[in-house]
Every structure is written in C-alpha cells, then in structure tokens.
C-alpha cells in the first residue's frame, strides 16, 4: 500500500465527520437537540404561514384557462395601465419627496423635530379610516375639499371621483400622502448614518449646497434609494386600500388596480377566488424580476464616491 492510497482510504470518514459537524453547526450533544427544538417552531410557522399560502395561491392560479378569462375581461387592459401609472407616480413621487424631506428634517433645531412628529402622523394613523375619510372629503357635492373651495373662493370644485383620471390621481395622491412619511423616516436614518467627517472634508474641498448633495449625499444614499424604490414598487403592487377605499375602483370600474380587480371584483363579487388569484398573479412577470434585482442589490451594495 502506498502512502497516497492510505490517505485516500482515510479521507471518507474524515469528510463524513466534517459534514456532520458542519450540519450540526459546531454544536455538541444536547446543545444540538435544543437548537433543533428552538428552530422547529419557526420552521413550522414558516411552512404554515409562508410556504403553504404561497404554494396554495400558485396552485389556485395554475389553470391556464383562468388567464384567458382574465385577459378577455374588458377592463383588464385598463387595469394594467392603471397599475403601471400607479406604480410610476406612486413610487417615484413618494420617494423623491421623501428624499427632499429627509434633507429638510436633518436641519438642527427643536422645531424640525416637532414638525417631524406631526409629519409622521398620516403614516401612524390606521389606513382604513384615513382612506374612507378621504373618500368623503372628495365627495363633489358635500365633501370638505369642495366646500372649502366654495367658502374660500366661491368656486365649485370638480367631482374628484367622477372621472377616471381625477379619481386615479386622487388615489395616487392619497397613497403618497399616507406613505411618504414612512419612506422619509427611512431616508432620514440613511442620511444620519453618513459620517460628519465626509461632509467636513467635502467642505474643505469647496463642496457646499447642491454640490454637496450631488457629490456626497446622493452617492452615499444611492444604493439605499434604489433598494427603497424596489421595495416600494413591490409593496405598491400589492396595495389594495388606497384604491378600494378612495375610489372603490370606480367610476364604472375604471380605476381598478390588479389587486382590487382580483380581490374585490373577481374573488368577492364574482365568488371566483381562482380567477382573482390569476388576475393578481398576472403581475408576477413584473414582480419576480423586481425581487431578484432587490436580492442582488442587497447582496452587492457598496458605495463609490
């Protein structure tokens, strides 16, 4: 027997032992048993409340005939257009405002802290009463908005919820109003994590005001901003409340999003949950790439000044 073959002979038990040790995470005896005992409930909850519902949803929407029914729905194309418009304006207006406002709230002084407290209120209050109140405020005849216009300026305001574009605009506005504070606070935290030394160095180099924002702040926030944009897009694709409670999908079903069309019209009114799931799942070609890009960005986030 050569020395090499002796090594070969000896290797498998060593490998098995290493794999076993790797699998046990370096834990010994009862430590490993306890670790399993603590992990099992989490796995059970994950399987029951994440894997099972997702798999069940995929199964519900797995019949190809459902998609021909979804695509032949006369309002489906309008709904897709609405969803894209809602995404384009809802995400970008909200995040751009949040970026600007986070800069404002970086200003020193007690009054900015008080303003911030007031500013986050729309996000803190529950969504349902908020959006129902907005629905009432936008009522063309008896709503607060048009009555204020009449009292202050003597003009009749438009019927905000009577045309497709005004109604969709109202829903987007409501969404932006409700969610801008949340993203502002996150960007504010991002700004606060930028070391003061970098700003000091930039100041020495003559970078102030807009130049400081363009060459220091924004590059350092760019990755965060991109990740937030992806997250906001994913959240908004599943948003239901803004449209359902502000416009109800109306007038004449012209402001539905994929989420409201699937859940309200197909699932609840038609009583066809499979059709509703198919309508919602038709957003997957957009959603899956977004999730993949998001995962990659989260792994490779780095900053280049």
């Amino acid at each position: 027997m050569t020395s090499a073959s002796a090594i070969e002979l000896g290797r498998p038990p060593v490998q098995r032992q290493s794999l076993w040790r790797y699998w046990r995470g370096g834990l010994q005896g009862s430590e490993f048993t306890w670790a399993i005992a603590f992990v099992v409930p989490y796995i059970a909850v994950f399987l029951a409340f994440v894997i099972y519902p997702a798999a069940y949803g995929l199964w519900m929407g797995s019949n190809p005939s459902l998609y021909s029914e979804v695509f032949s729905d006369p309002i489906y194309l309008n709904t897709v257009v609405n969803t894209l418009i809602f995404l384009a304006f809802g995400v970008n207006v909200k995040l751009f405002l949040a970026l600007l406002l986070s800069g404002f709230f970086m200003r020193p002084g007690w009054w900015t802290k008080v303003l911030l407290l007031i500013f986050v209120l729309p996000w803190a209050v529950p969504a349902l009463p908020t959006f129902i109140s907005i629905h009432w405020m936008l009522n063309g005849e008896w709503g607060l908005v048009n009555n204020a216009l009449w009292i202050l300026f003597g003009v009749d305001g438009p019927s905000w919820l009577n045309s497709r574009w005004l109604a969709l605009g109202s829903a987007i506005f409501s969404h932006v109003w409700k969610w801008t504070p949340f993203w502002t606070v996150i960007l504010l935290a991002g700004r606060m994590s930028i070391p003061q030394e970098i700003y000091d160095a930039a100041k020495v180099d003559g970078a102030t005001g807009l130049r400081r924002f363009l060459y220091v702040t924004f590059p350092l926030l760019a990755n965060l901003y991109l990740v937030l944009t992806l997250l906001a897009t994913i959240f908004l694709l599943g948003d239901f409340n803004s449209v359902y409670f502000v416009t109800g999908g109306g007038p004449a079903n012209s402001t539905h999003l994929l989420a409201t069309l699937g859940v309200v019209r197909d699932m609840l009114e038609l009583g066809k949950p499979q059709l509703g799931v198919a309508a919602v799942m038709s957003a997957l070609p957009l959603l899956i790439p977004l999730v993949i890009i998001l995962m990659r960005k989260l792994r490779t986030a780095e900053v280049q000044l």
């Binding site: 009862s30 309002i75 629905h135 005849e141 019927s159 009577n162 699932m267 609840l268």
Partner: protein
C-alpha cells in the same frame, strides 16, 4: 420538588398530546348536536336581538345548540367565499346578496334543501320563490338551495318636508313613471331659490358598486317595457327590439336628470351606504333604495320626527297606466356542501321558516325585511296597519305584482351584475361621449359573452 429537565418537559408534552387525543372523541360527540351558523348582522340592533331570541327559542325547544356569529354582510360574504374555497364551512350561513347563491349552486357547492322548502313553499310569495330555486350545472337541474325568509323590494323614500319647502304638495305626487320622476325637479328648483345649493331632487345610484345600481337600472328598464331581458328559462333576449328600446330609454332617462343637475354628480361613484347617508342628511328629496332600512335606521336612532317625515312609496304605474311588477329578492340561509352537522342545520332551517316563527323574527327586526307569506301579512296588523312605511313596502313586495331578480333565472346575470355591464353603458353615455344605442349594444355584446358561459339545459 421535582427538577424540570429536558426529558421531563418532553414527557409532559407527550402526555398532554395523548390526553388531547383521548379527549377529542368526547368533544366530537358533544358537537354532534351543535350547528355552527353564520348570520348577517342587522342594520339596527333590534334585528340581531330578534335573531338571538329565535335561536334561544329553538335551543330550548330542541335541546340542540346553535353556535352562531353575526357579521356585517360585506364581511360575511368575504368570509363565506373564503370558507367555501378552503373547504372549512359552517353548517349554515345566511346569504344576503344576489350573487352568492346562484353562482355557488351552479358550481354544486350548496346542499339541496328541497326537502325543507317543498312542504311549505305554497305559503310563500309564488313569484319570489325562484329566488331560492337555482340551476346546478353538475346535476343539470334546478332545486331549492336557499330557505326563503326575508323578502326585499326597492321602494322610493321621499322627504315630505323638502317637497313642501320646495313649493310642491306631496298630495300632488303623480302616479305614472315619468311624471313621478319629473315631479321632483321643480322641488329642487324651489329649494335652490331658497339658497339650498347642495340639495338634489333625486338620489338614485348610477355607480358600478354593489347591487343598488342594478336594482335601479332594472326598475327603469322594466318601467319602459324591458321585463323580458331574461326569461324564466334562463335565456337572454338582447335580440328583442322591445327589450333594446327599454334599455335605451332606461339609460337616457337615468342619465338625463344627471346631466341636467337633478341628481348628485357624485352618485356615479357612490358606495353602497352613500345614498343612505346623504338621504339621512336631507341632501336629496327622493332616494330609490332597497328595503326600508332608511326609515328603520331613523327610528332606531331616535329620530321619530324624521321617521314620520319620510314617505315610503312603491313603484308608480307605467307611462301607459299599467301596474309595474317590482323585482324582489328572497334572502335566507343555505347549507354549504361539506357542512358537518347537516341534520341539525336542516332542523333549524325547518324551524326558522315556520310562518309563526318567521313572523315573530321579522317583526322583532322592526319589519326592515318583509314577511314573504301573503296570508300571514294580511292577517297580522303589524304589516299593513300599524305603520305607513311598512304598509307601502309590504304592499309593494308581497301583495302587489312582483317578479324575481334575474339572477334566479341564470347565474350569468350575477356576473353581468358584478361587472356592472349596464351601469358601464350609462357611464359611457355620460362621460365618454358614447351615444345611447351603441352604449347599450356594447353592454348587450358583453352580456351575451357572459351568458355563453352559463348554458342552461332546458327540461
């Protein structure tokens, strides 16, 4: 004192699990006489009290237990759809919309309760009974899937004081369709002259939301002679010129007052309760809305003066002076397939639809829902003598000519309704510049596409 060790914890857990397994058959035995019932929460608390009393009486009489829950109707509908999808259903659930029962019967998801309904059906309003008698696409025949309990029609609700304030007399209210509608226009003009800038003559729903706009379009269409849009054999008659003419007239006559400013502009995007709220706030003179929930809610809120100020009015005559049938819906419980305690559920169902029990239950709910048993309605002064609102409503829904909602004939109508095909035509006419006839043609085309998916085998 013993020490808590890993082994003792595992041993105790296993012991508890074993004890649970042993105890389970006992619980199952106890549940054999219990039925789980999901019921719609009333608009007023008296409706819920009346239901609970009926349950108590049944439990005392039978020894069975009814494990009930009361849920607002929109939320209950969501719960019911989810339950049937998941296959975890109650033993009985109330249906309070036009669409669930016909669509679920079509898909063979409800239990045939003909053995419950057949023995008593002769006592009920005959024209309304098809609302319980649905087509099953698996068995290819119709059967009773819903127990008749509550009948509902759509009356007009009118503020008498606003009519008088607007310079008209309520006694002058005409009784033919177009004249009846036109009566309210000068009332609004009169009120506007007095500075009431936000009060409107008429408050019907022309939105694409809920069942109210469907009731509205159908009532106008029937008034203009379009009753035959769907016939009892489940067929759609969009090829009938009379039906098309009626649909075009309905569209034009619903939209024109809107264009002329006699209907609140916001009504094209109202939610189900928006017209009720606006009417309660006296922001419109007349409302067209199902049941007398509007009046009952006023009474329940302690607004007796306002309650007395409202006139409940059935349908006027057609323009050529003929009596118009009101579309009525019957609501009640169904037993979903997969229910575990069918015997108790059926027994409770039989109990509830006994005329005496049903009468007491509906009276307890202040008569918001009418009793669908004509003989008992005529013999009990509660329905036709004690209150003018109830009298008008019961006459409209039980005594005078009625036809069932079209969903009873073919579940395709449920999808036509859910898509709000005809109100979309009204909206196209109002907002998108489409002429009345092409708008109706487009609606007919979509209705035909939907009906093609629901073929009904004729006997």
């Amino acid at each position: 004192m013993s020490t808590l060790t890993r082994r003792s914890v595992i041993r105790s857990s296993l012991g508890l699990a074993a004890a649970g397994a042993v105890a389970r058959p006992f619980v199952a035995n106890a549940a054999a006489k219990t039925a789980e019932v999901w019921w719609v929460q009333g608009f007023v608390k008296e409706e819920d009290s009346a239901f609970k009393k009926m349950v108590d009486d049944y439990e005392k009489a039978s020894g069975n237990k009814i494990d009930h829950s009361l849920t607002p109707y929109a939320a209950l509908r969501q719960k019911e759809i989810s339950a049937m999808q998941a296959g975890v259903v109650p033993d009985m659930m109330e249906v309070a919309d036009f669409w669930l029962a016909p669509l679920q019967s079509w898909d063979d998801r409800l239990l045939d309760v003909s053995d419950v309904v057949e023995p008593v059906k002769d006592q009920f309003v005959k024209t309304a009974l098809p609302c319980c008698y649905y087509y099953n696409n698996v068995t290819k025949r119709r059967a009773y899937y819903l127990a008749p309990m509550k009948i509902a029609a759509v009356p007009f609700h009118i503020w008498k004081s606003l009519v008088e304030k607007g310079g008209q007399k309520i006694s002058d209210l005409p009784n033919t369709w177009d004249a009846f509608m036109d009566f309210f226009k000068p009332v609004q003009d009169g009120l506007r002259k007095q500075g009431m800038r936000n009060v409107y003559a008429m408050g019907y729903q022309i939105t694409a939301n809920g069942v109210d706009p469907i009731n509205t379009f159908n009532a106008w269409m029937i008034a203009y002679g379009g009753q035959g849009l769907v016939t009892p054999d489940g067929r759609l008659h969009t090829d009938d010129p009379k039906v098309k003419e009626a649909c075009v007239k309905a569209l034009v006559n619903l939209a024109t007052p809107f264009k002329d400013g006699y209907v609140p502009p916001g009504c094209v995007n109202w939610n189900d309760a928006d017209d009720n709220n606006a009417f309660h706030s006296k922001l419109m003179v007349m409302d067209f809305d199902g049941t007398i929930s509007t009046e009952v809610a006023l009474l329940s809120m302690g607004r007796k003066d306002d309650f007395d100020d409202v006139l409940t009015h059935g349908l006027p005559l057609s323009n050529d002076g003929k009596e118009l049938p009101s579309q009525v819906a019957l609501f009640g419980p169904v037993i979903p397939k997969g229910a575990k305690n069918v015997d108790v559920a059926k027994e409770f169902m039989k109990y509830m639809i006994q005329p005496k029990v049903l009468n007491e239950y509906l009276k307890g709910g202040l008569g918001r829902w009418a009793l669908p048993i004509p003989e008992m309605v005529k013999s009990d002064p509660f329905w036709l003598s004690d209150d003018p609102h109830r009298k008008a409503y019961v006459e409209q829904s039980v005594i005078k000519p009625t036809i069932p909602i079209y969903e009873a004939y073919n579940p395709a109508v449920a999808q036509v309704g859910a898509e709000h095909v005809f109100m979309t035509a009204v909206f196209d006419f109002l907002n998108n510049g489409v002429a009345a006839e092409p708008a109706i043609d487009k609606a007919f085309k979509r209705a035909e596409e939907i009906f093609a998916k629901y073929p009904i085998q004729q006997a």
